[in-house]
Amino acid sequence: MLGLKKKDATLLLIVIGLTMFAPFILNPFPDGSAMAQFNAGYPDLMQRFVIFGIFAIGFNILFGLTGYLSFGHAAFLGIGSYSAVWMFKLLSMNVIPAILLAMVMSGLFALLIGFISLRRSGIYFSILTLAFAQMMFALAYSVLTPITGGETGLQLALDDPRVLGASQTAGGNIPVPGLFGMEMRNSFDLAISSWVFTFNVGYYFCALILIAAFYLAIRIFRSPFGMMLRAIKSNQTRLNYTGLNPRPYTLAAFVISGMYAGLAGGLMASMDPLAGAERMFWTASGEVVLMTILGGAGTLIGPVLGAGMIKYMENIISKINSDILHSWFAFLPDGLEDFIVAIVYPFIGKGWHLTLGIIFMLVVIFLPGGLVEGGQRIAKWLKRGKTEDTKPGKSTEPAE
């Protein structure tokens, strides 16, 4: 299918299925029940899942294939966001030109930064990319405030020129981003019994792009170009001896990866027209590294899973407060209730960072290949139950 081997086609179909039915999958609990706290099927979070999925897929093209660990990848996300918002301000509220400019601008910056940084390898490369990103963050937050909005971020205003399109809506408000008249924020609810599922235009737009991005990533992974990148990872010296210059290949991977990040940034701005400098801070770059490793570096689907996991924790766990906790355990006798709440409380709400840290440690200690390895182990365990002599049930193939 589409030039893919059966295994990859299956994987793509799984991703398509997951993204298209996400509103159902992410809302497993009936509205209003105590467990509804864990529902993640609301537009903003679903959009974030796929956008950070795209970001992580792109990062993985660089890190997973070539082994070059960029510690400043968030810079391209930021550039993408700023470009997109400027496009909304100056040209039109249509998301297509905004996203295109986001990709072009981040591609250009990636070309420049990659050209310089790829002169070094290993940790020296990581520090170079980190240095570029930190400089961009620092300048965007302070002296570049006229271009970037600084602390308060770049936002739309009522007096934006906007060549194609009105500065204000008829009601005197700022128009919202859309695709040829379809507003990104539009959604409709489907209520089945006490379940409510939300279908959002913006989400499906992002999801389609994720599928395209994922497809492209599979093609890159399986192409001769992808082969070459893997050769760079396993032994660059040997590659040099064969008379090949690896630099153009890594640079191409770096630029592609940067454009993925720019695409993610452009999408972020399209869903929510604001761009802030914090998007480029080193912790944001660190986050995508964590997503990729947590999910499984070098695997196709791992980064998407890792992105989903971190964003879920950030948005769901952080919102549980002691009041909600008390209501969950209200069926217990008072003393026991308070005791259990006291034990659980440090890990939720304001303590969600602690939970995140513990999960990082557990995953990396027990599942060196990330969540994907966890899935593989479960699959293997299930298969062993059925037949004895099947090959190891790998759903995906790590790069090495």
Partner: protein, 445 residues
């Protein structure tokens, strides 16, 4: 605990049943069926408290959250009623808002615009919050305010001091009770002139971002009007932790006053460093060298410890005020939590009450109705004396406190003493001077 919460869950359930149309397998409801975003249909109304729970301002966020919980308790008729008894408007009856029980959801802004918006969006989209409030920095306030405008809910700003929030970035759905940089400058300058004389040379260290710029500008303008001279203004990076290399050259410049336009961790460190360098023991131009911190908060004062002693600054409110509103609030907060509330707690508590009161007076939760009720609203008994919510920019105008670090504090909460209550007329400005456009209120949906 268990008893109230069992009913809480029951309320949630019945609310959902009413909203979702049970037993019908497939119903498509376009979200525009409601008159405005998140119109409460059940017996309860949900407010969203969006405060920093992680990151450097987590303690301030925790104090805001305490105040919100107290406000919810009072609105629902619990506790001693706090400021509801002293509030000049008597629309609130202690039976929730418009007869609906007040529920709340909480979120973590992380003091990052992106995270704050994500958290606010989840409250609006998932939890059906009809109002968002909180925050501890101007960057977050401006970002969330714009979001609320777009989504069609009311935003009641928490701690945000930049002129921009109700200046160039003001929005029709956003309201701020807290004071701003301009007011700090206007209130401080006369006190500084009275204590340090009109012939002073000031050296500014300014946090290199929007809030820093507006504060530097405000203090500069108002002190220069008193006859002070500004020797230099140096920008310091947000991520700076050690300010020695910025502070050491101050004496060489011939300045005799150092103004630290810093907030939070920056301010704690820069003030500590300045005192460390012994600046306050120096005699320059035959005058004692002085340090000024335009925006004080008690938490920062605590972080800087003994270094704040004798240093002037301004604050929105302080628990040692002696009016009835303050006393009532301090009493109910202090009784519940065991220590006096901070100014962040005060402003958020007042914002929650003001919102509830506006809903009662408007007879609706519709953001446009609420905004109309708040615009031009004059009230008293909330701790700052007579206060006006100005219609033109949704900024509260009230007295501003000039404070000084106390020499002999009796506890870790008793670090500031009030020097002067600057009357509101002195800090009022024309609404148009900061530009920006309020736009029109957006009810969403």
């Amino acid at each position: 605990m268990s008893k109230t919460n069992l009913t809480r869950r029951g309320v949630l359930k019945s609310g959902a049943v009413a909203g979702a149309g049970v037993a019908l397998p497939t119903i498509f409801t376009a979200s525009s069926a409601a008159a405005y975003t998140n119109e409460p249909t059940g017996s309860s109304v949900t407010l969203g408290f969006n405060v920093p729970q992680t990151g450097p301002y987590a303690d301030e966020g925790a104090d805001e959250l305490r105040a919100y919980e107290l406000a919810v308790e009072h609105l629902n008729g619990g506790g001693d009623g706090g400021m509801m008894n002293t509030f000049s408007s008597k629309a609130l009856k202690g039976n929730g808002i418009l007869g609906k029980k007040v529920e709340y959801v909480t979120g973590d802004t992380q003091t990052k615009s992106d995270a704050a918006r994500a958290s606010a969006k989840s409250m609006i989209e998932k939890d059906g919050a009809v109002m968002i409030t909180g925050g501890s920095s101007s960057g977050v306030a401006v970002a969330v305010q714009a979001l609320c405008q777009e989504a069609g809910v009311i935003f009641m700003a928490g701690l945000t001091h930049s002129n921009d929030t109700t200046g160039k970035d003001k929005r029709a759905n956003g309201f701020r009770h807290f004071f701003n940089s301009y007011m700090s400058g206007a209130a401080l300058a006369p006190i500084l002139a009275a204590n340090y004389g009109t012939d002073r040379k000031a050296y500014h260290l300014t946090a290199d971002y929007n809030w820093g710029y507006t504060t530097e500008e405000a203090v500069k303008t108002s002190t220069e009007a008193m006859g002070w001279e500004t020797v230099a203004a140096v920008r310091t990076p947000l991520t700076q932790t050690d300010f020695s290399s910025y502070i050491a050259p101050v004496l060489q410049s011939g300045a005799d006053v150092l103004v630290l336009n810093h907030y939070g961790g920056n301010m704690v460190n820069s003030l500590t460093n300045a005192v460390q360098f012994g600046l306050r023991d120096k005699l320059v131009n035959n005058k004692n060298f002085e340090i000024v911190v335009p925006l004080y908060s008690r938490l920062m004062a605590r972080g800087a410890g003994a270094n704040v002693k004798g240093i002037y600054g301004s604050t929105n409110w302080h628990w040692s005020l002696q009016d009835e509103g303050t006393k009532a609030f301090v009493k109910s907060f202090g009784t519940k939590y065991g220590f006096p509330p901070s100014q962040a707690a005060h402003t958020t508590y007042v914002q929650a009450l003001l919102y509830a009161d506006a809903c009662e007076r408007a007879g609706t939760f519709n953001p446009c109705g609420v905004a109309e009720a708040l615009e031009g609203f004059e009230f008293d008994g909330m701790g700052n004396g007579k206060t006006l919510y100005r219609a033109e920019d949704h900024q509260c105008f009230k007295d501003v406190l000039v404070v000084r670090g106390k020499e002999n504090p009796t506890s870790e909460f008793d670090l500031l003493e009030i020097v002067e209550v600057t009357p509101v007329d002195q800090v009022t400005y024309d609404a148009s001077i900061f530009g920006g456009d309020l736009g029109t209120c957006n009810p969403g949906a």
